[in-house]
């Protein structure tokens, strides 16, 4: 980002659609059930505390990364494809 001569003032927002994951990452409560992935969790909490990233809940309908993890029905697929910025060059020349 510095190379682009644009300073990033706010933290990068990461949109996640799993509310449990966000609350575990935020709260310093001891969760017995999360023992097995402790190490990565502490890293995540650290970067969050320093304000580098921010985990935000995002509905599954708006989750752009869906197209990268599973195969979707046609309507959903075309919606996400358009949101990624993939479009036809012939039809949308005026953009």
């Amino acid at each position: 980002m510095v190379d682009l001569q644009m300073e990033q003032k706010e933290s990068t927002q990461i949109l996640v659609d799993n509310q449990a994951a966000i609350s575990i990452a935020k709260n310093h409560v001891f969760h017995g059930k999360t023992k097995h992935f402790k190490l990565k969790l502490y890293f995540l909490r650290e970067v969050q505390r320093e304000g580098e990233i921010q985990l935000i809940y995002c509905k599954t309908e708006n989750q752009n990364a869906d197209i990268l993890t599973k195969s979707l029905p046609q309507a959903k697929y075309e919606f996400f494809r358009q949101r990624l910025g993939v479009c036809s060059f012939i039809a949308k020349k005026e953009c």
């Binding site: 990033q8 949109l15 989750q63 990364a65 195969s71 494809r81």
Partner: protein, 142 residues
């Protein structure tokens, strides 16, 4: 393949692949060449990233079923041959990132697939779709 019908999505939504599916084995060189070509295309077409990444897991045990699915991606590309990433000029550009994963999608070893993409203003510039290296034990972990 030049006169094939085009499809609207690169992969059948309900299709699951596995290592040993009982179908006839095919020439692996041909399959690997095809996957290699599709991999090259993913640098400008993030929409086929997931399908290509799933099929590339079966390079060493390619069967007729996997080859059919790979040909479906080619048919999808035929229908969307003029598509590409478009970068437009905008005033307020914010860096956004999306992260998602499914859970235990791989039939053979129950690993999950995770994907992320970073977008700057309206178009994404960095994306990935990958099978996780660990076996996630809960959806929150995945």
């Amino acid at each position: 393949m030049e006169e094939c019908r085009s499809t609207t999505t690169p992969m059948n939504q309900k299709e699951k692949f596995c290592n040993e599916d009982g179908a006839a084995k095919i020439d692996e060189t041909l399959y690997r060449t095809l996957i290699g070509c599709l991999m090259y295309l993913t640098t400008t077409r993030p929409d086929i990233m997931n399908a290509t990444s799933i099929l590339s897991r079966y390079m060493r045990c390619a069967s007729e079923i996997h080859f059919q699915a790979a040909k479906r991606i080619v048919r999808y590309i035929k229908g969307t041959i003029d598509y590409g990433l478009k970068f437009c000029q905008v005033k307020n550009s914010i860096l956004h990132s999306y992260s998602d994963s499914d859970w235990a999608s791989c039939v053979d070893d129950m690993r999950s697939t995770s994907g992320y993409c970073f977008s700057f203003s309206s178009t994404i510039f960095l994306w990935s779709s990958k099978r996780q290296e660990i076996i996630a034990q809960s959806t929150a972990e995945a």
